[in-house]
């Protein structure tokens, strides 16, 4: 089958599909007319019941926390999958990692530290303001990435040794699932909230939401670092006098 035939047939079918989708979409209530009880009730009750001011955070970690458990493990298994798929794809003969000037490295270190603090802040206040475990976790991983960008692969590798990061990822993901079992033990339902809900607007609010939030942050940060490492390993080359073990584990 040639490319022309494929694209031709697709054009016809795609137009049909588009028309079909539009026909369906036209039956929805108009944009801006959300009036369903689900969201409105949650907006009403969540701040009181969970003392979280960010209702999205409450939905992600409490009302629909079980979705987030699945989401965590999607990320977890994607990282496992990527390391499975890239286990043979290692650079062998290669030029040296670039060594950068001291001012760049110093600036990078400061910027990385700042980004790290920003990440912690985004995680910590996730259920008070926008942010949370996922977003903060990626920012935290970004701080490590910045070390690579301004320092070099060597520094990055030293900061993110494979084994502990892998353990952190497993612990973060496992902790989420185990906190669910704690819910069974203390609150009678999986992922049940088994801590007091604390004062609204403070870091102690939300019961077990902060715990789940931090578990997510650890998992996401470690997963992202591993993801970057796996991809970087296929490209980045160590200097002559220094080779990390790049082989499959």
């Amino acid at each position: 089958m040639t490319r022309q035939i494929r694209l031709g047939v697709f054009t016809v079918a795609g137009c049909g599909l588009a028309a079909f989708l539009l026909w369906g979409l036209a039956g929805l209530p108009g944009f801006g007319h959300y009036h369903w009880p689900y969201g409105n009730v949650l907006n009403q009750v969540a701040p009181n019941e969970r003392h979280t001011s960010n209702v999205v955070g409450a939905v992600v970690f409490d009302y629909r926390g079980f979705d987030t458990l699945g989401e965590e493990f999607i990320l977890f298994s994607a990282v496992v999958g990527v390391s499975l798929l890239l286990r043979k794809d290692r650079e062998e003969a290669a030029p040296a990692d670039r060594v950068r000037s001291d001012p760049i490295m110093a600036t990078g270190a400061v910027a990385a530290a700042l980004l790290f603090v920003l990440g912690l802040w985004v995680v910590a206040f996730g259920y008070v303001t926008p942010g949370g475990g996922f977003q903060g976790g990626v920012v935290l991983a970004g701080a490590f990435l910045l070390v690579y960008l301004t320092g070099g692969y060597r520094e990055y590798h030293a900061l993110t040794p494979h084994s502990p990061v892998e353990m952190a990822e497993a612990i973060g993901a496992g902790a989420f699932a185990i906190l669910g079992f704690a819910g069974i033990a203390y609150a009678g339902s999986y992922l049940g909230n088994f801590l007091g809900i604390g004062d609204a607007g403070s870091l102690y609010s939300g019961g077990s939401i902060p715990l789940l939030n931090w578990a997510t942050a650890v998992e996401v940060c470690a997963a992202m670092i591993l993801l970057f490492s796996e991809f970087l390993k296929t490209y980045v080359i160590p200097t002559d006098d220094w080779r990390p073990e790049l082989g499959p584990r």
Binding site: G14, L21, G39, L42, P47, V82, L85, K88
Partner: protein
């Protein structure tokens, strides 16, 4: 006009699909999948939008707010999209290593 965001969602969906079908490069294809996926983000958020509503963050006041549920769903959706891109890119690197090509039309090892 009030259906424009929905139309955008359908547009992104179909344009992304077109990209997937027509792509000659797996890396390009992965990005097209994210475009298609962003159609679902837009649809979800557009459904949950409320005229005059603000973000569902209540500190210190209560106010009219948009639907928080669709936002939570979209967050999950974004994570899914990252993982899928990572996996497809990993496979694309493998394909390049084995066949020297990342053109999906050229790496057909078997058929029939």
């Amino acid at each position: 006009m009030s259906y424009l965001p929905y139309a955008l969602a359908a547009w992104l969906f179909v344009v992304g699909l077109y990209g997937v079908v027509s792509s000659r490069n797996l890396i390009h294809l992965a990005v097209c999948l994210t475009v298609m996926q962003s159609g679902t983000y837009v649809l979800l958020l557009a459904i949950g939008y409320k005229n005059g509503g603000a973000a569902p963050i209540f500190r210190p006041t209560r106010h009219k707010a948009v639907d928080p549920v669709v936002q939570a769903l979209t967050l999950t959706d974004i994570v899914v999209s990252v993982t899928v891109v990572a996996l497809i890119l990993a496979l694309a690197l493998g394909a390049h290593k084995e066949s020297g090509s990342v053109n999906p039309d050229e790496i057909a090892d078997f058929s029939g």
